[in-house]
């Protein structure tokens, strides 16, 4: 039995389905792995901890990864958890914003500083606006409440599988503008990160194999997998998680170990053009296929 520590990006939620199911179904054990799962409260911590050697794997965001690598953190993507963007630009469904162009002069809330400005800028440009036309406010983790309470007119950084359901349950349904439909190159929302200098490719390959099996199980048995997931913690048993679970299934990477190099090249160029990073680096500095090592 080999021990591994995995840092989630945030509290356990349906996005982490494959990991939880693999754990519960014993797939990790089948691979000879004993996995310790740790959930932090600040999503910017786990990559640092992995870079510092505190854990073997962390869940991170592809857009953030580019910035982190450019700031010199020893990090590399070794696998994919969620293979599409989840991020969306949300407005109130019955609110005054009917199209993105209506955002001129309005306030947009965001939570994790970093790439949100670049993403929003690109979306705005695609709709004839610039960042100068809106006011951006960092509202921390109160995205939905800030929007529902009318403190901001739109939010960016909320997830389509989560915040949208949440708002609907609260009776203030939201409407999502999908970033990848508004000029932002598509990317992997959640990826597995490791320290390239210390990573153990064999361990990681076995880990990914287990999550791949779990993903297949989830896709094949959506109801049963929800039951298993919900049983792991009482706080997960509510309507929101159940609905989010259903909406997330189609977004799990079916081949977690597979690497689409083009995605990383395109996004690297996108960030460079937005001025967030300097010269681009080769994909091999950002992401690897552990199976190929």
């Amino acid at each position: 039995q080999d021990r591994m520590t995995v840092l989630l990006d945030w509290f356990v939620n349906p996005d982490h389905g494959p990991i939880i199911i693999a754990q519960e179904q014993g797939y990790f054990a089948d691979e000879g792995l004993e996995i310790e799962i740790v959930a932090p409260a600040d999503p910017s911590d786990p990559p640092k901890m992995v870079a510092a050697g505190r854990a073997d794997l962390a869940i991170g965001y592809q857009p953030q990864l580019h910035l982190q690598v450019h700031e010199g953190l020893p990090l590399v993507r070794v696998g994919t958890l969620i293979a599409t963007p989840l991020n969306c630009l949300i407005v109130l469904e019955d609110g005054p914003i009917g199209a993105i162009a209506d955002l001129a002069g309005k306030t947009v809330g965001y939570s994790v500083a970093g790439v949100e400005e670049a993403l929003l800028g690109s979306v705005l440009r695609a709709n004839g606006l610039t960042l100068e036309d809106v006011e951006m406010v960092n509202v921390s983790f109160a995205l939905s409440t800030a929007l529902m309470a009318g403190q901001v007119d739109a939010t960016i950084g909320g997830y389509r599988n989560f915040e949208l359901n949440q708002m609907e349950i609260e009776g203030r349904p939201g409407r999502c503008f999908y970033l990848e439909e508004e000029g932002v190159p598509s990317y992997d929302e959640l990826v597995y990160l490791a320290n390239p200098e210390t990573l153990d490719a064999d361990l990681i390959a076995r880990f990914l194999a287990a999550t791949e099996r779990a993903t297949q199980f989830i896709v094949n048995h959506p109801e049963q997998s929800w039951e298993i997931f919900a049983a792991t913690a009482p706080e997960l048993q509510d309507e929101l998680n159940e609905r989010a679970w259903a909406d997330t299934i189609s977004r799990f990477a079916l081949r977690p170990a597979a690497l689409d190099s083009g995605r990383y090249v395109r996004f690297e160029r996108f960030l460079s053009e937005a001025g967030l990073i300097g010269d681009t680096v080769p994909v091999s500095d950002l992401a690897i296929d552990v199976g190929a090592l």
Binding site: F11, V12, A39, P234
Partner: protein, 265 residues
């Protein structure tokens, strides 16, 4: 015995009264400001959530309480010790005091990644956080008290050929106990906040975790239920420390000081 029991009864009654008052205020606030329930739910909804989730809340409350108690004891001890060192040595004062202020000026939240790097995601980092947050009020209040020893006593001690250590233990520390008590009362209120912040930094248990979790899910009622439990625990802790502080001060002196309390309260 009887008096004590009556006292406890009246305290309970008063607390009950205050609770009702606060619930009323809360309901009024919600109604008046027209705050939506997903930001500030009314007390009824919160009580409901308390009932629905009582097992969950109890579990997490126990975890937090453990962190708080350990943090409080360690923070108060360390704080008192630091104050004594500062009071004892001019050199320590010149060097350490700014360092202390400096260290406090850094929001603990910013230190969180460093603390988790050093202490990991377990109980230790939460205790460290609670400790850090109460360390300064205790140090600061006790130190101020230690520096306020009436000069005549110090002069008397110096004529008597007292050793500095003995002046400290026999005169300055006893004379500063009311100030220490003041610091401890503050600490009792801050220790839970410290633990909560520690949990926010990274935890899978505790009321702080539960709050963030509920917040992330816009479950305002669960979040406020956890908050109410936390506030209640703090209230109890404060009452206990207040009693202990009174005892500490009363026990050592029958001076006019203690008489006042009897008159004024």
């Amino acid at each position: 015995m009887k008096a004590a029991r009556q006292g406890a009864l009246s305290t309970t009654l008063r607390l009950a009264g205050v609770t009702v008052l606060m619930l009323g205020l809360w309901q009024a606030l919600v109604a008046l400001t027209d705050t939506p329930a997903f930001i500030l739910p009314g007390p009824l909804r919160v009580v409901e959530a308390l009932w629905t989730h009582h097992a969950l809340i109890t579990h997490h409350a126990l975890v937090t309480m453990t962190e708080v108690l350990i943090g409080l004891v360690m923070g108060a001890s360390l704080g008192a010790a630091t104050a004594i060192v500062l009071a004892a040595s001019r050199g320590a004062r010149a060097l350490l005091r700014p360092v202390l202020v400096f260290s406090q000026a850094v929001p603990v939240f910013a230190l969180a990644p460093i603390l988790t790097l050093w202490f990991g995601y377990g109980l230790e980092s939460k205790i460290a956080m609670a400790l850090l947050i109460i360390y300064f009020p205790v140090t600061s209040a006790f130190f101020d008290g230690l520096m306020r020893t009436p000069g005549e006593w110090l002069e008397m001690a110096s004529v008597m050929g007292a050793t500095p250590a003995r002046v400290l233990t026999r005169i300055r520390i006893p004379a500063a106990l009311p100030a220490l008590a003041s610091g401890l009362r503050l600490a009792a209120v801050y220790a839970p906040i410290g633990a909560i912040i520690g949990e926010w930094v990274g935890a899978s248990q505790g009321l702080g975790y539960l709050m963030l979790f509920a917040n992330g899910r816009a479950m305002a009622d669960l979040m406020f239920a956890a908050l109410v439990v936390l506030a209640f625990l703090t209230l109890v802790l404060h009452a206990v420390v207040d009693k202990a502080a009174h005892w500490l001060v009363e026990h050592q002196t029958q001076s006019p000081d203690s008489k006042v309390r009897r008159i004024v309260f």
